[in-house]
Amino acid sequence: MTADPAGNGHRRASEPGRLSRALASGRFVVTAEIGPPRGADPGAIAKKADLLRGWVDAANVTDNQSAHVRLSSFAGSLLALSAGVEPVMQLTCRDRNRIALQSDLISAATLGIPNILLLTGDHPRFGDHPDAKAVFDIDGVQLVWTAATMRDQGRLLSGRRVDPAPHWLIGTVENPFSPPISFRARRLGKKVAAGAEFVQTQFVFDLDVFERFMAEVRDLGIDHRCGVIAGVGPVRSLRALEYISTKVPGIHVPDAMVRRLRGVPAARVADEGMQICVEIIQRLTQISGVAGAHVMAFGYEQGIPEILERAGVGPRPDHAAATEGSGRAG
């Protein structure tokens, strides 16, 4: 993977982060997720970071996930940095117009957040304030394009100069399982054309559909320009299965997996869910063009090391490097 999708030969002004180096090295990368607290608890992020340090290359800090109010992803990313876990700051178009988005992007770069994940975001309809104004001034693709332009051309959407230009690794998301399925690889291609350097996918539970998606990604040559990190996670109860199948938009759980989880005694569902997750990661490591796995653990962060260990992808090599960002937020 190259870190220069624009092909304009510009060298990065700032040091590439750990995730950027891991993707460039070609080894299987691992990312996870840190959901910020709903409350002014300064220790909440560090507690989750402690569970992940050394096991992941970077951790996403979500931006008011599912449109529920939380500590901001910006503050959460700074806390993760000081806790020694490299953050991927998520930023959505749901709550901010183009002025606020570009401002937050400059702020993130200024305070040393090395990775950003840019997305359209869930509609407020799913959140705790369905009466809120849905902003969506620009869309996720346009946000990726805007960030790449700020970094590579040193210009804002208005055309005005940003000096010095901000630097981050630009990520995005894609859902290979949502109709129109035959358009999803091309849609990712659009984001890569706009400047995305890595992508994290929706949960991969249906490997057949995902393999077809990856074949298209390879045909379009996208995997050489963009690190494809596949979303995974352990479904540890039938209630969780019900929740993700019906309440969370865009997650597809194939019948075979439902049968497998329902087929074991209630006490063993958690183990079976972990086992399925491990098997999926193992399969992913065999798929050409897959750069890594993104573990979303539904609040079971303490189980992530076990999953990774059993799947044969942990702990991270050159772990000491994980703490080099320490104290920058201080």
Partner: protein, 191 residues
């Protein structure tokens, strides 16, 4: 199909739809017809003069804009963003997407193709994809659409089109890296 009780609980009952959450519209006219009709609208000296005249005559412009709203509202659910993307979206209007996405469907489209915000309505981008695909126009959907100019809401997109203000709305698809920046000259403001 989601039950009425469910729609009620999530605040998405069809009769109580509101302008705050746009609702996807499947156009009532086949894409093929519209691709053909588009030629009739292409800018020419007569249209350019008409557009310039309309902009000098507020009353005529209001009537013209109202007529455009009537026609496009009926066929596409047009919301008068004033910068029409229809020729590049299989003639399905992306501004009827609750997130007003200009660059393709979000990841929340249900397995049956329903909108995540209005689960009883088909995703407008899925409709756009199917219409474009049927006419061999899927390449259009790979063009990068630039951010829209929110000052154009309520204005005639036909007048804007004939005046050449739409030209930078999407990339040309020539493979070169292009910028999202649009040079904007607002006709109502001194430049």
């Amino acid at each position: 199909m989601p039950t009425r009780k469910y729609l009620d609980r999530i605040g998405a009952v069809p009769e109580r739809r509101h302008a705050g959450w746009p609702t996807p519209v499947t156009p009532s006219v086949p894409a093929r017809t519209l691709y053909r009709l588009h030629h009739l609208l292409e800018p020419n000296p007569v249209y350019r003069r008409l557009a310039a005249w309309l902009e000098r005559n507020p009353t005529a412009n209001r009537l013209f804009t109202a007529a455009e709203e009537r026609v496009k509202g009926t066929i596409f659910g047009c919301r008068m963003c004033g910068q029409c993307a229809l020729p590049a979206t299989g003639y399905a209007c992306p501004m009827t997407c609750p997130k007003q996405l200009r660059n393709g469907p979000c990841g929340g489209v249900s397995p049956t193709g329903m909108c995540e915000v209005h689960p009883d309505v088909r995703c407008v981008w899925l409709v756009a994809f199917e219409r474009a695909e049927a006419e061999g126009r899927t390449e259009d959907l790979s063009l990068l659409q630039r951010p829209i100019d929110h000052r154009q809401w309520g204005r005639s997109s036909w007048v804007n089109y004939w005046q050449g203000r739409d030209e930078g709305m999407w990339t040309s698809g020539d493979g070169r890296r292009q910028l999202p920046i649009v040079q904007r000259n607002d006709p109502s403001e001194p430049s």
